[in-house]
Subunit: 407 residues, 2 copies
């Protein structure tokens, strides 16, 4: 008998038929002898519908009220899923986030989980119930309802798994698992049986939307074994877990592309201590999320400073950077929203040299120009022209033989 | 400055335009210098939609889960209405029933309010906020969410008004107020300016759907002055209040018809002590709500016993009564679902004789046969053939000169 947390996303519980399919899956796992805590997202488009309703009433709704509103979506799906289990003859009970003992900080619409007191969950587990928890929400110190922001239901599931020391946390979604690259881009993409937390983190932050970084970080921190799998097929998914020695035999686990970035270059920035800090402090104050940063010496006494930002933020970034150029005495700034970031990831890179060379060489042989490079221990990212992003992913996927590599 | 509780029903907040109209009405009352607590129902068809969703999943959903599900409707409308007030520049905050300090018993789907601890409401009122409370819900002793059943938002409003000692409780709805009879049946029906609690109670229990009996009982018990008025017109409504001497000058305040009843007659029931008790004990055990009861001596040593029940319960009643006939040694039972109950109500009846005669005479003169009679201090009800119900209401409305009587 294992204690398992299962999480079902919005597309897995989109309608009555989906709910019933999910209920059968839970029943099967229960009847196989497991104890189950299930975290659900809002049904299908519920969240988007509620946002649209709010925006009709008030273009800038207060965060606290948005949380009151949005939290209802998950309460609806948790009670409906519980009813579906009852219809199958299973004991089940739904809990709101606050009832499940999920306590957050006070930052509405993007609260962080601070504490979990799973007494009520344990009580219902002990009496043989499947416990269905409304994801994405918790209670602030002031007793207000807060939501956890995008991917919040994944975070709920992982945090609950850690709190109740579950044997595994299964994230059911509309894909089969984590792939070597986006299967919509490269048909040779292959599902991975296993991936390390750190690899998953790099892929998540690189735009592989299967799992949110926050939930993977949480899983890594509390050593929760995650499994990403399809709620539709019943096939085994991808297990995200701590690193084991064998993982290093694979140099590159996956290739990812992010085509929603833009590049900003401040030209001829005075080469003085503290200038970079001033620039990025200002960007941080504006809540602009800077990704890659590269600084090149270009002329004597001054340097070019480039960084990438989410393309959606570019308008705000322009306003801020144009002002910054004057403040710090830079010559000016250029903006390029026709870029893509392409990355390779693998814990095996740590112990193997020549990976970077092989990547750059493969791109060069295909006339793909590299505009920026950024590396971590287990990742190499390059910025290239956006129109070549798909080519680059295919070339790298083939160069590192991901289509045929052992899982 | 007055402290006012306002309640807006589902049709008053059915869509974005309605929400904005209600928000303007609240803003006007606030800017007139009042402190406001507002109770809202779920938007338009939300409750019915949620019920339909639940029934698709499970034809007999558990009460506890229905409460989890249904409570979301009012949370959505309270947060949306709060956003609408913010859009008008007013300070406002939404509270769930539990946050508003509404504590109920543990009877899911028809919980009763046991206690109100309005500390948080007072806190927000003190800082100048309009407080928007999700109606129809509260917290059980076990910390579960419970709903109050039909008319629960009215009850929430009246109970809150009592708890915070509000000067008035305004129930906004889609009608102008309480009428001398149903204006859809009799075009001469006239809106009442004032009505006594007891009169309203009789009318409510007789099928005038403007206010639920429970909320009127609550208002009477705590002496909360109620006003029923339209959220669409801005006209003054009907004030429901304690009795004053002048009210007795009106013999009959209103006429009501209930066409959803059926009549059951047990024939030749042995005329022995305890038989009636046995019969109604059994019906109560089956949760069948018996309304009028009439017993006639028919033969020596036995009597006919008639009573009325909601027509919807007739199938269940048949099963129960057929069995009871054998148990108590009655000859048999007849069932008539083609009846109507027509009633006249007025506190003035107490001090005036001849009202019953006048009623029976008016019906007799129009060849309307009376099958059963039941009276209280301030009400006379008769059961007649359903096909004559409309005639009877018109005749009584005219006989007691309700179209022209002073309000």
């Amino acid at each position: 008998m294992a204690l398992i947390v299962q999480k079902f996303g919005g597309s897995s519980v989109a309608d009555v038929a989906c709910m019933q399919r999910v209920a059968c899956r839970i029943r099967d796992a229960k009847q196989a002898g497991n104890q189950l805590v299930v975290v659900v997202s809002a049904m299908g488009d519920t969240t988007d519908d509620l946002i649209a309703l709010a925006k009709q009433i008030n273009p800038r709704p207060a965060d606290r009220e948005m949380d009151m509103l949005m939290s209802t979506g998950e309460v609806i799906s948790s009670s409906i899923l519980t009813m579906a289990l009852h219809a199958l003859g299973e004991e089940a009970v739904s809990l709101t986030g606050p009832q499940a003992g999920i306590y957050t900080d006070e930052i509405h619409t993007k609260a962080k989980i601070r504490d979990i007191r799973p007494d009520l969950i344990r009580h219902h587990l002990d009496r043989g119930c499947v416990v269905i928890v409304a994801g994405f929400q918790g209670l602030t110190p002031a007793g207000e309802i807060a939501t956890l922001g995008r991917g919040g239901s994944d975070t709920t599931a992982v945090a609950l798994a850690a709190a109740i020391q579950a044997d595994r946390c299964q994230i059911f979604t509309d894909v089969d698992g984590v792939y070597t690259t986006d299967p919509r881009m490269v048909k040779e993409a292959r599902k991975l049986d296993v991936i390390a937390y750190d690899e998953m983190l790099e892929l998540a932050s690189l735009g592989a939307k299967v799992l949110q970084s926050r939930s993977v970080e949480f899983a890594k921190k509390y050593n929760v074994e995650l499994e990403v799998l399809s709620s539709f097929t019943g096939n085994p998914g991808t297990v995200v877990t701590g690193e084991v020695k064998e993982m290093e035999d694979i140099f590159v686990r996956g290739v990812a592309a992010d085509i929603n970035q833009a590049k900003v270059t401040l030209q001829a920035v005075p080469d003085q201590p503290g200038i970079a800090a001033r620039i990025f402090k200002q960007l941080a104050a504006e809540a602009i999320n800077v990704d890659m940063i590269v600084q090149n010496v270009s002329e004597q006494g001054s340097t070019d400073l480039s960084f990438t930002v989410p393309e959606d933020d570019l308008v705000r970034v322009r306003g801020c950077v144009d002002k910054l150029c004057i403040d710090v005495g830079a010559r000016g700034a250029t903006y390029d929203d026709k870029i893509a970031k392409v990355s390779i990831v693998g814990v095996g890179m740590r112990s193997h040299s020549g990976i970077a060379f092989k990547m750059f060489d493969a791109l060069a042989q295909n006339d793909i120009n590299i505009e920026m490079i950024s590396t971590s221990e287990i990742k190499i990212s390059v910025v290239i022209e956006r129109s070549r992003a798909l080519d680059a992913v295919r070339i790298l996927h083939e160069s590192f033989e991901l289509q045929g590599a052992p899982a």
